[in-house]
Every structure is written in C-alpha cells, then in structure tokens.
Amino acid sequence: MQKFFSNRRLVITVVILVVCFGLMGGSIAMRNRRSTPPLIQQFGNDIAGFADGIVAYPVNAVQGVADSVSGLMNAYTENRELKQKVSELAQVKVRDQTLAKENKQLKAELKLKNSLTDYSTVSAAVMSRTPSSWQQQLVINKGQTSGIKKNMPVLSGGGLIGRVAEVNKTNSKVELLSDTSESSNRFSIVINGTDGKSVNGIITGYNARTNELIMGQVTSTAKIKKGAKVVTNGMGGITPKGLYVGKVSRIGKDDYGLAKKVYIKPATNFNEINIVTVAELND
C-alpha cells in the first residue's frame, strides 16, 4: 500500500477525482439549465442511438414474440371482459366526438384559437433503460427532428409516466415519475371532488414501496372519494390539460396533521413500457 500511494499516484488520483466531480457537477448543471445538451454530446448520443437500434430491435422483437404468446394464453378471458367494455366505449366515443365538435364550434364563436386541451402527440418506441438503481430513465427513439422538446410530458398505456429529460437529434431520455430526482414528478394535477369542487395541486413525491404518487399539502376542504380520477390541469404551460395520471387510492394526513396527503395509484406500470406517446401543447 505504501508503494501504491506514492506521490505521483496520489497526485494523479486527486486530479482524476477533481476532473470526475467537475464533469459530473458541470453536466448536471447543464442538464438543469439548458434545453438541449451541447452539440458534441448530442452527436455522441445520436451515434449511440443508431448503434443501439441494431442490438435493441432484435431483442425487442424477441420480447414481442414472448408477449404475444403469453397474450394468447389469456386471450379467452380477456376477450369476454373486453367485449363488455367495447359496447360501453362506443357510446362514450360518439359522445366524445360530438362534444369535441361542439367545443370546436364554441371556440370559433369565441375567437379562441387553442386552449390547454389542444395537443398533438408523437409516438416513440422505447429502446433501452438506464441500467442503474437510482436513475429511472428510458431512452426513446424520437428526438428534436420529430419535434420533441425538453420537459414535454410522456404517456404510456393510457396514463402519464414521466417527462422528457434530455433531447438529442434522434433520441431522447425520459425520466419516469418513479425517479427520485426533485423535478421528475412535479406535475400540476387536479382531482374532482364529489361535491362539485375540485382540488388543484402538484405531485410532490413517489412512494416506491406501495407504488403510489403523493399529492402533498392539500388544504382544500373538498370531498375526495377513493377511486376519483386524477388528471393534469394544464398549469405551467408545457403540460396539456386532461392527461390521465391515475386514481386516488387513499387519503391521509401529513406529518403535522394540518394538511391532507392524497395517494394516487398511477395508471401505468412503470416497469412494462414499450411504446410511449409524447404530448405537445399546440400554440
């Protein structure tokens, strides 16, 4: 050990440590501040994304086959349940179309161009996931060229799953709601109470043990029922209004007993994501 930490080695070790933490600090700061990473980093990522396709597509295809086989096993029981839902859905869809049309006419009447519910979507495939226990990130195969920008909300399986954390030319990184970083799950949401009032708030945390999102510091007196649907409320200007987040699973008190804490069961399982939809608010 004496020999190992000779003067020269020690100096080199210290220099490496300084460079290492300098780079990490720098890139985290850059990531938080800039809307796109530096060009050279984007370039590296695009090359990597291209090469990843060569490995990822066959592997994903194998997974697709395995999924179809297991899907076939459950097809009978699922089909019976789904048939019931389809008949209900047709009614809802027609009503939805009528309302959308009416909404459009009314907006035209008011000379309103686009509101917070008007958004377009970009679909992307998930290529890989960060092999790390601390960063819950996915790499998707669409980037700036498809119109994706930083902080856009990402949906999958009918519900919100996270937001775009980094955009390159042809691929981007999505930070899941289950990530522990401060910014990943701060979405502005609304819950409709049973007495006609609605509760606005933000997602303040994620409970990994029970797989629940937490909406903290709720002081509203509106009555919220278990099972109430939670959607985004469009505040903040980047996330459209009306993206489905999940259902209220329970309501508790915060640590001091002053405010309520609402626990939300997310609509999507964060560990089974293959296709995502990125939502972009229309200007």
Partner: protein, 178 residues
C-alpha cells in the same frame, strides 16, 4: 500481438454488444430487475472486460482505452451525466490487473476477482452519485437492496458465460496463420 489476432474484431464487438445488452435487458426484464425493494444493475460490460483480461493469453488488448470509450458511452447514453463511468471502468480494469498478480487464473479465483471488482465498482458508483445528490438511499439500503442483488445477478451472468467466453476469447486470441 493484438493487431494480428481475431480479437481485434471480436473484442470491440463483444464490448459494444455487452453495452447495449445492459440497457436492453434492463428494459425487457424491468419488472424483475427493479422489483421493489431490489434493484439489480446489469453489468455485462464488466463480465466482458474481466473475462477478456484473463483469457487473452499473450495478447495484450488495450483494455484501458476501450474501457474509457465504454465508460463515455455509458455516461452519455444511459445516465446523461458525464464523468463517472469513464473513470470507473478503467479503474475496474486496473483493479483486475492488480489482483491478478496475487492469484492463479483458476475458475474460483476469477469469480472472486470479478465479485471484488463489482463491489468496488458499485461502491464508488454509489458514493459518487450520493455526493452529487442522485442516489438518495442510505448505505444500509444500498448494501442490501442494490449491491447484493447486483452481485447475484452478475454472478449468474458470469457462471453462464464463463466457459462460452473462455472458448470464444481463446479462439479469437489465436494469431491467424496465413
């Protein structure tokens, strides 16, 4: 001579396959790898680096250089935070070289070196990420929920891949005779 052997194709190809498979496997088996409270970190790259070092024979693969490239790739593509893996992978190679001086290259010893490498790798990874505020679990939680499952998963990788990789790398290490 590295430049004359088949390893000059096989090694980089294997390294990059390992890199991409780490991400792809993490995506496909996410339900298994990241089943609360455990988190398994797939590290085929370290399996490949360690096996290459022990099976390369007389051929000296420029492992440090390749591991830096692999590290930069990991930083850019997977974590998005530059500066950690580009030093950790070369460190693992250095550690393997250091430990190899004291052991015989037998199967159990190589497994032991691999496990030490992985433990040091994960510890440094945890320490650095905790210092910059990405990892937010206590040391106890890390040891039990991340390190232990990670060691198990990668041990399974190594046990399955040891003999195939030994065959492959020794075959590729033969200098082509024309």
């Amino acid at each position: 001579m590295y430049r004359l052997s088949r390893l000059r194709y096989v090694f980089p190809l294997g390294l990059f396959a390992a890199l991409f498979l780490d991400g792809s496997l993490s995506k496909i088996f996410a339900g298994f790898f990241f089943h609360y409270p455990y988190a398994m970190v797939s590290q085929l790259v370290i399996v490949w680096l360690v096996c290459s070092y022990f099976f390369e024979g007389d051929i000296q693969i420029p492992l440090i250089g390749f591991s830096v490239v692999a590290g930069i790739f990991c930083d850019l593509y997977y974590s998005g935070i530059l500066g950690l893996f580009m030093f950790l992978y070369p460190m693992v190679v250095g550690l393997t070289k250091l430990l190899a001086k004291y052991i015989t290259s037998s199967f159990p010893m190589i497994v032991l070196v691999f496990l030490i490498d992985l433990t040091v790798f994960e510890l440094f990874n945890y320490w650095a990420y905790a210092a910059v505020g990405i990892a937010k679990v206590g040391l106890g939680g890390f040891l039990l929920d991340t390190l232990l499952p990670t060691l198990l998963l990668n041990l399974v990788y190594l046990l399955f891949l040891y003999f195939p990789l030994q065959k492959l790398i020794t075959w590729a290490a033969d200098i082509e005779r024309r």
